[in-house]
Symmetry: C2
Subunit: 582 residues, 2 copies
């Protein structure tokens, strides 16, 4: 037997018990004739103590142990004289009578502490050691908990978890598919799913009216920060429902997780905002509503005063920053530099300080007198003591820049606390996006998304004006989930394909089997998918989804611990009818 208890378990009531513990040596301290060992496992740390006077041989053995050795100890629980309130086991220690080394350890390449000295690259290479650190253990335990809670909630609501296949078919527009060469069919490939979308719709057609799955999805993107080629989705679909049913059900799931995981009660319904409104007031479609500071369209108010920058601008928008009229020149210069960074791309920033004495001081005083500036204040709701920040230019670009500026101000003012959560639904997305060059419409979500109810007739006449029956769950400025009501009617689906510029043949080629399935009685249906990694990371207070994944890839899509991807045998290539052209 290796242990009677784990290292986080023993309390004062166990004093005088004889116990066995196994774990890793976290730390050894020699104080006078006493040796103290912190023994660690995932449950906690227990202090071991050996007295040189009474047990000279054991003491010598203990002093030879190294960090991360795995040992089994026998001993008796004793009350500690100097109790440690940081540890759950801090009231006791183990008076050791025997030590057995189960496994030695070389000196680890970085310290196994909450704050480690190991760099990113080194910790990725020795991920199995990094995973011993408490912050990562906390992340994986939270992930486990959330996965079980999601399953419990949905199962209790009558949802069935159904596994969909991983070896599927690549679609012609599947540039982002990972493919898998077939050994049995020369020159043919499977593809790994980017999502189970088509299969979950088939399951609806099969009559499984409440489906979910926690499943891996794969996307061969050019990697950017905090994207992973494989990621986990909570994928859900329902039949015989309307949008309201979906929002109610999954708002219920979100509230359940908030309650169970974060002990936060959301009594009221989550706010809802239309896509158009989100773009106008927040400059993006995933608003962070932990703080106000909305965008105000001041285009009409500020034009016509011979300030060429504004007069030439398509759009001028302003933020009112409450109580910050005392922002220094240096701070304002920093903000100007911030918005001029290439990834934001504003040409400059105009400010107006509404001083507490009632005067307004702006960076464009040459063009605007106090009365005119007072109109800015009215338009933005600014009062004495507030700061107004103004950006101008092409509308969509300026709104995006204002969104970034808003987030930056939120960060500077501590308004984006990651212990505060502000969920909302964004609804009424456009059904199509227009390719600016070709004028061709593309589906904003995917071609099976249904138009908003009442707007279906526009498919024939003004498709670009149609809203989709689609919705996103946004928390703290992150899109946590998104979905839509799907088209279930062959005729409307055909109109949709037509609007997207598909020939019948292209539609058949890309979506033939789903189109066939629609012919045999498809129920009204819709669904949603949540980014499980992102949601868990958010609840964990992590900036990166890597903190809640056991073995993530790096930003180049590589696993540097196992050295993947790697070359394969020529024999293997030959079996797959492939050759490599470098």
């Amino acid at each position: 037997m290796y242990r009677t208890h784990n290292c986080g378990e023993l309390r004062i009531d166990a004093v005088n018990k004889e116990i066995l513990l196994s774990g890793w040596v976290q730390k050894i301290r020699n104080l006078g004739g006493m040796t103290f060992i912190d023994l660690r496992d995932r449950y906690g740390i227990t202090q071991l103590v050996i007295d040189q006077n009474s047990k000279p041989e054991l003491s010598e053995q203990a002093r030879k142990l190294g960090r991360e050795f795995v040992i089994k100890v026998k001993g008796t629980v004793a009350e500690r004289s100097n109790k440690n309130k940081e540890l759950t086991t801090g009231e006791i220690e183990i008076v050791v009578s025997n030590i057995e080394i189960l496994s030695k350890s070389e000196v680890p390449p970085f310290t196994i502490e909450d704050e480690t000295d190991g760099g990113e690259e080194l910790r990725m290479k020795y991920r199995y050691l990094d995973l011993r650190r408490k912050p990562l253990q906390k992340g994986l335990m939270l992930r486990h908990l959330m996965a079980q809670l999601v399953r419990r909630f949905l199962s209790d609501k009558g949802f069935l978890e159904i596994e969909t296949p991983f070896l599927i078919r690549s679609t012609p527009e599947g540039a982002r598919d990972f493919v898998v060469p077939s050994r049995m069919s020369a020159g043919k490939f499977y593809a790994l799913p980017q999502s189970p979308q088509v299969f979950k719709q088939l399951l609806m057609i099969s009559g499984y009216d409440k489906y979910f799955q926690l499943t891996k999805c794969f996307r061969d993107e050019d990697f950017r920060s905090d994207r992973q080629p494989e990621f986990t989705q909570i994928d859900c679909e329902m039949s015989f429902i309307e949008r309201e049913d979906i929002l109610t059900t999954f708002e219920g799931l979100a509230k359940y997780l908030f309650k169970e995981v974060k002990n936060i009660d959301f009594k009221d319904n989550f706010p809802r905002i239309t896509y158009d409104n989100a773009m106008e007031k927040y400059g993006n479609d995933r608003p962070d509503i932990r703080f106000e500071m909305l965008i105000n369209n001041v285009t009409e108010i500020v034009k016509g005063k011979d300030f060429k920058v504004f007069d030439d601008a398509e759009y001028i928008g302003a933020l009112c920053v409450k109580g910050q009229s005392e922002f220094t020149r240096k701070q304002l210069d920093e903000l100007t530099e911030f918005v001029k960074r290439p990834q934001i791309g504003a040409m400059g920033m105009v400010y107006a300080k509404y001083n507490t004495d009632g005067t307004i001081k702006s960076s464009v005083d040459k063009f605007y007198n106090q009365d005119e500036l007072m109109k800015w204040a009215q338009a933005t709701g600014a009062q004495a003591g507030d700061l107004i920040l103004v950006l101008s230019g092409a509308k969509s670009k300026t709104l995006a820049a204002l969104s970034e500026l808003r987030h930056e101000m939120g960060n500077r003012l501590g308004l984006r606390d990651n212990k505060v959560f502000a969920p909302l639904w964004v609804i009424d997305f456009p059904l199509f996006e227009k390719d600016e060059e070709t004028g061709q419409l593309h589906a904003m979500h995917h071609p099976f998304t249904a138009p908003k109810i009442g707007e279906e007739h526009l498919l024939d006449t003004k498709p670009e004006n149609i809203k989709a029956n689609a919705y996103d769950l946004v928390i703290n400025g992150s899109e946590i989930g998104g979905g839509s009501i799907r088209i279930h009617d062959t005729e409307m689906q055909q109109k949709m394909f037509k609007a997207l510029g598909f020939t019948d043949e292209e539609a058949e080629n890309q979506f033939g089997f789903l189109m066939s399935a629609f012919k045999y009685g498809a129920p009204p249906h819709g669904g949603i998918a949540f980014g499980f990694d992102r949601w868990t990371a958010m609840f964990n207070g992590s900036d990166s989804i890597r903190d809640v994944m056991a073995f993530p890839k790096n930003n180049a899509g590589k696993d540097i611990m196992i050295d993947a991807p790697a070359e394969i045998d020529n024999k293997q290539l030959k079996d797959l009818f492939l050759s490599v052209n470098k």
Copy 2:
């Protein structure tokens, strides 16, 4: 709103309620002036009724509906005059006031009934229609239930479900790996995991002492009947444990599933049998112990009577079939043909009938007199009324043939009822298998399997004699799970590699990162993995695992519904630095 109830929900207490139902038209019958519609969803069937006299228009609309149309009906619940005890809703029917067609259906290519007229190939092509049939729905619902139960049981025991990666590294002996070409690293490939074995061992080294995962595994095998290229495993690993802890924990899981799913109580411990004993008494290492009929080694007893077939045989084994001395000549001839089939390969079969009158009649009476035959009876435990069947030849081949014969007799005598479950543990597997040609040893499980406790010293001297600390869970002749205690000691691991004929370089090449991990404090650990598809199929009473998978591949590894695998674009190939040589 599409429905107030589902089609399996309404009972007699709902009479006079106004309700909405949505579902598929299962059947339409016109009887006199009445139209009866069976409306179906996954919850059941509800009868709709429309009276031509009172509602002529509605009646006409109803008569135009076709099978598998999706409709929404409004109506009032009424008590049925002729109640249908086959249906949970059989006491009521719906007097319809309105019908809305949600989706039309072409005539399906086969009937959506428990017993369908569709052939295998057709049903695979229209899998989404086949999935509407109750037997498949039952299978998927059972699968959902079992998955949730497994997770609940293990979570409650402190196990953490941790996701391991799908894009990993191919190993040099990975002929069975599916590979995934990388677009970011020219000429390099990921591999899909055959199992999470290495990652779960790394998690043990990371201190996650109780791990599990329900996860897809991939194996690029030449497909045989009822194998799938992707399958699901319940994968588990524990640290600081001995074999007994694993067997107790997972016997607990098995008992929990038996109780929750099948309502069967296993009060006693599952029997355990050694590999050697299983081979001797059942002729294989996954004995079906639903019935006795053990194999008896009669080699010494029957030799030396000038019957050349026996005298030349390495091994002679006999089954005693209780109470079957009246087997006819025809039946015995059939059995002889059965054992002579190439896949079994016996040269012939000898029988001896121990008649109820006390005489024994055998097919080799020329060589054996009554006294001698009586010794056969003693050796096999046969009594008056029993039948003795004897096969001879090379030992391992003959045992395998006796196993097949035993199963055949079990089938013929109805001793293999799929509603009866007989689980057991097979233990003490050999650690190595010897390549008959080269004499080289191979790991019977994998090279990380620990030797049986007390036999470690044989690694240096007689490795071929060592038993492994490995175990299989067998139910009704199927291997449902298997695992082992792993080596956690670098030195023993090196000995193991040496016994397997690995050079240091080969070991490093194939298992380098795991070997590195062992150097930083590996706890004693072990685990087990269960075939989730197989287990579910068994509990479902299905012969094929396809009956409990939503979208299986056919025996050639193809998904004929979506037509995968398929050719991909030349552009895609080029992006992956590949060309195809057919």
